[in-house]
Every structure is written in C-alpha cells, then in structure tokens.
Symmetry: C2
Subunit: 380 residues, 2 copies
Amino acid sequence: MISFRVTSTCGSARRGILTTPHGEVQTPVFMPVGTAGSVKGVTPTQLRGCGAQMILANTYHLQLRPGAEIVNELGGLHRFMGWNGPILTDSGGYQIFSLTGLTQITDEGVEFRSHIDGASIRLTPADAIHVQNLLGADIIMVLDECPPLPSPPDALHEAVRRTLLWAEKCKDAHHRKEQSLFAIVQGGLDATLRKECAESLVDMGFDGYAIGGLSVGESHEEMMSVLPRIIGSLPADRPRYLMGVGMPRDILAAVRCGVDMFDCVLPTRNGRNSYAFTAQGPLKMRNERHRNDSNPLESGCDCEACASFSRGYIRHLFNAEEMLAATLTSIHNIRFFQRFMARIRELIVDGNLGTIEAQFPIAGATMQTSEPGVESGCSD
Amino acid sequence: MISFRVTSTCGSARRGILTTPHGEVQTPVFMPVGTAGSVKGVTPTQLRGCGAQMILANTYHLQLRPGAEIVNELGGLHRFMGWNGPILTDSGGYQIFSLTGLTQITDEGVEFRSHIDGASIRLTPADAIHVQNLLGADIIMVLDECPPLPSPPDALHEAVRRTLLWAEKCKDAHHRKEQSLFAIVQGGLDATLRKECAESLVDMGFDGYAIGGLSVGESHEEMMSVLPRIIGSLPADRPRYLMGVGMPRDILAAVRCGVDMFDCVLPTRNGRNSYAFTAQGPLKMRNERHRNDSNPLESGCDCEACASFSRGYIRHLFNAEEMLAATLTSIHNIRFFQRFMARIRELIVDGNLGTIEAQFPIAGATMQTSEPGVESGCSD
C-alpha cells in the first residue's frame, strides 16, 4: 500500500514523497518505461545510476509475452526484471486501443487481436486487475476506455460512462491490498466532462488518480485547457499522474498545475533514434557535424555516457549500427529527465520554480521542443 | 612498449605477466573483440566488471568507419572507446581477405573493395602500420597474407614469402615506439613451412609472435598438428598469440602448447544469437524449455546477468527481441571466458592443469562444444 505526503508547494506545484512497498519516491517523478519488462537497452544497475526512482511496465505487452502467470511463477515483476524499486503497471487499455485490431468493446470488456500473432483475446475489467495482481507492481491501474482525439462528443461521453463503470468493477475485483489502485480520468478535451468523470471517480475512492487520454496528438495549449480543471476536482492528499507525458515543456506545465507523476518512452525511444536531449534542445547524433566533436553529449551532465564518451564516438556508434549507440544515448536521456525533475523538485522547495526555463530552455514555451523526428508514444 | 615475463610453467603451459603502457595483463589472456571500437552491446564499465583485461579492435573496420584520422583526432583508440586498459589492433589483413571483394594482391600491398560502400582502397604494409599508429593501440600487428584452408602448397608458400616481405616492410615503417609490433606466422597446415616462417620472423626480431591462418575451418586435430611445431620455433621470452581462437577446447590445447594470448568474437556473437556458455556446454536461451526456469544462466557464476536475472527472464527478452537479451548474455559469456582463463592461470601455478576438464567439461575432448548454431568468426 502506498502513502503520499506533500512536503512543499510553490503555487499549485507540489513537492512530495510517495512511499511504496519498494521504497520512497520523491515527487514530481518521471518514470522511464520498461514496456516488456525491460527499459530498452538499459540494465537496472544503469537505470539506478541514472537516478530513476520508479519505472512503468506495460501490462498489455507482458500479458501477451511471456504471460502474467510466467512472470508470477518467476517471482513477480520486481524479481523478474531485477528491479527492486517501485513499479507501476498500466492496465493495458491504452495499448489495446492503439496497437491492436480491436474487434469489439462492450460494457463487459474488450475483445481484441494480439499485435504479435493475431490471437483473439477477451479482457474484462476484472481480468485487467487479475493480470496486474499476478504481475505484482506497487501501483496498478483500472481498465479505461481511451478514445482518440478528436472524437465526437457522443463517443467521449460513452467512453466516460464505460470508464466509470469499469473503474467500479476494477475496484471490486482488486483484492491484493499491498498493491495500490489508481483510477483514470477520461473525457477528451471537454473540461466539463473531465470534471464530471474526476468527481465520480473521487466519490468511488481510489489510492491515486491518473489523467488519461492526453498526449495523444493534441497541442500543448489544448492539453493545458483541460488539465487545471481536472486537477481542481482531485483530492489534494492523493498522487496525481499524467499518463504518457512527456516533453519537458508539457511536464513543467503539468507540474505547475499540481501533477506529481509522469511516464514516457521519450528518453529511450529517442535514444535509439539518435536524439540526445540537452537543456538547449535535442541533438541528432547521426549528424555528420558531430564527426570529430570531442565534447560529451551535454557538458555538465554526470551520466555514464557523458563521463566517458565524446559526441564523435557516439555518432560513430550510430553510424556503424552498434547497439551501444542506443544504450549510451538512452542512459543520457534518462539521466537528463531525472536531472530535470530533480531541479524542478529543488525549485519547488526554494519557491523559485519560475527560474526553471532559464536553466532548461528546452522546457520554455518559445523553444520548439518537438523537432521533426523526436518521438513520443504509448509503449516502447 | 610492452615487457613480458613468465612467472610459472606447467609442462609447456605458461603463466605470465604482460606489462603494457595501459597496465598489466595476466596471461594466458582472452581478449574480447571490439570490432568497430565497441564490444557489441557491452559498456567498458560492464567489460571491466566481467574481468576483461585487454581487448582487441579491428583496424579494417575502424579504418573504413570512422577512419583512423578521426579516432586520432578524438584522442586515440583508448580515449575514443572509453577503455583505458590495454588494446591490441589487428592489421586488417584477415578482414580484407575474408570480407571484401579483393581485387588485387601484389608484393606492394592489397587493393580491395570496402564491404560497406564498395569503395576501392589500396593498403600497403606501411599503410597498415601508419593506420595502427594513428589508432594508438598498445600492441599492433604486421600486415600478413592469410590464405583460406585448404589452399594448394604453391599458394601457401607464396603467402609465406609475401608475409615475410611485408613483415620486414612493417617493421621498417613502425616508428611509434610506445606501441609494440607483433609478427604473424603463416603457412597453413604445413608444419615445415610454418617452422620456416616462424624462424625467419624471429630472425627479424619482433616484440611478440602471433599465429595466424588457423581457426579458419580446420579441425581441432589439424590445428594441433602444427601448433607445437610453430611454438617450438618461437623464443620463450616473447608473448605468443593465437589469433581468432576460440572455443574453450582449442584455447586449452593451445595453452598446453605454450600460447599466451587469445581473442575471439565467440562470447558476444553467440550472446546475441542466444547461446549462453556454461562449464557443461552452451545453452540456447531462445528455447521454450527455459520459459519458467528461475535459475541463473549458470549457477555459481558471479556475473551481473547471473546475479540478478533468471533464465526465464532472459528467454523472454530474446523472445520479445529486447536489446537487453544480447547484452546480458554477452556479459555472461565474456565473464565465462574470463573465469575459464583465470582458472587455467591458477592451475598452471598449482601445477595442476590436468584437472581443468573436470571443472570445465566444455573444454574436454569428449564434449561436442560446437553445437550447431554456435558461431566463431574474424570480427564481430
């Protein structure tokens, strides 16, 4: 079971401590994503070295391969992955809606085809909880219906109705009390619908509240048009988690609204695609211009990649298609996000969060952070 | 400049210390291969953790990409790779003969086509040394002609004649005295020719002597039919290096003949192909039978992979095509070879090398070590 305590605030931004069965997490926190039980290309030892506190694993992927029973037989997700820190699993809903040939959705659940072998699979809200109970993460998520954006109003209302129904069913099905259950607020960009959804979930009572269905292609301004209204409906004493976010600018704006938790594949997916994050913006490491550059990816960075390797070497590794290219750039990117969050936490305590854009221009509104090629996504 | 000192013997087997500008190496030593300036999938920190003392890098690959000048501009190979221990570079000869569309070979040198872009490249013995001087390894190799096996006697004689001519030219061209230059004995499976080649090279005088043109498809027995004769012609006070070997059984037999140094891509190439080495023989980790096996790759192994991960997890990683599969299995395999060599060194000191097969049955003559699928090769 988790507990959560806000220790400082700066405007609506909160500095807190989330205590889990696998240790404390300093919030606001960014969770790297270990889609299939592995943060791609990075060992748990390296992940710790990057300062990662908590990671996310995707139920959908683990359920298909190797199967939740196997993970359970092998001692549960912490033992399986060799990560003894806190873990959060999503419910699989988002992947089902985005990756599969979905065949049917009813109030009972979803029927979909595996993106791996096309096998037909039925998943009820109770199944989603059962699978996550077998995996054994510290925090688990309700099954929700996540419509694409834009969706017609009827579809958004129907998704919220079903999300609330499923949240209730998930709550009833959850019996492993050392795992905490978070609800997910849906409702697209309709602030009134979002508020209604949030209030209904709060009435049911959950250990924490997530905001789903954002960072699915809408603009930063659209995201920010609903986020404060949702947060306003959530209890102050429970952690708030913005799923799948994301870019430094979105994270910072959400922290300023009072969000505590984030996850995204950005550091690793872009690491594999040769993008290195720096406070000044992303660098494309495949570029010829890095050929004989003896500087580290980012000067002043304390990660393993910046400590020992030049841009010229990392550019060579990408060029030669060496695995180490992705590993070193992913390590740097994960560390970059951890340094960014650590600085945010410090500045909240100092009451000085307004200075963060000066230190991390990448998080400023004037910088185009999403250079063509920089990719986000639901699982890695 | 290197120095070499034999500290113990057991029969013809030697325990020694090779001192290089980048530290001491305990021999007999096995060098993992960092083909393009990276031991595939493994960071230098992980490599140290595996107990690797010295690594090999392929001049051919580095010369084509990123180019020796770039490596030199970025501080030389040690700085470039982030490996501050000893490094050996080969001359590129073997790769030219095995990987390229070779267009011409004369006493002046070779003209070949790059396997990357088909560009036509000329390489003289002096060029091979110049390139290795730019790379800056502790030990560099002469350019040799490496004929395939079997080759007709005329071709073998011609290759030896040219290898001797080129060795002389390489010696003349080498002016960076902190780098030590090794000669390479050729001559196929003709023991008399091998002996003549070795004696001529010893007359010229080199810092060490390598045996090339073996482990190119011939049987263990064929290899062993010439090895003792070659060793008998080499000076006792210089290190002896058997290039591209290899399987534990071949290494052990060569150690018993008095070989001090080995290199091979076996640990990493097979790691990527899902083969994990154990004292009892290789395990194919993709196999279904490891699905829910909670044991480590090899019980009693102290590597990072065996310390934290089950066979079931690693099997899952291969199945899900996660990069970490190759990394963890490569780490285990590199550690396996280091443990094997460390045990050999201990048993030489104890005068008890005869007991090694009982501890490492994989090195015994009765075990079929090369299960179908286990791969060797010239560069990784």
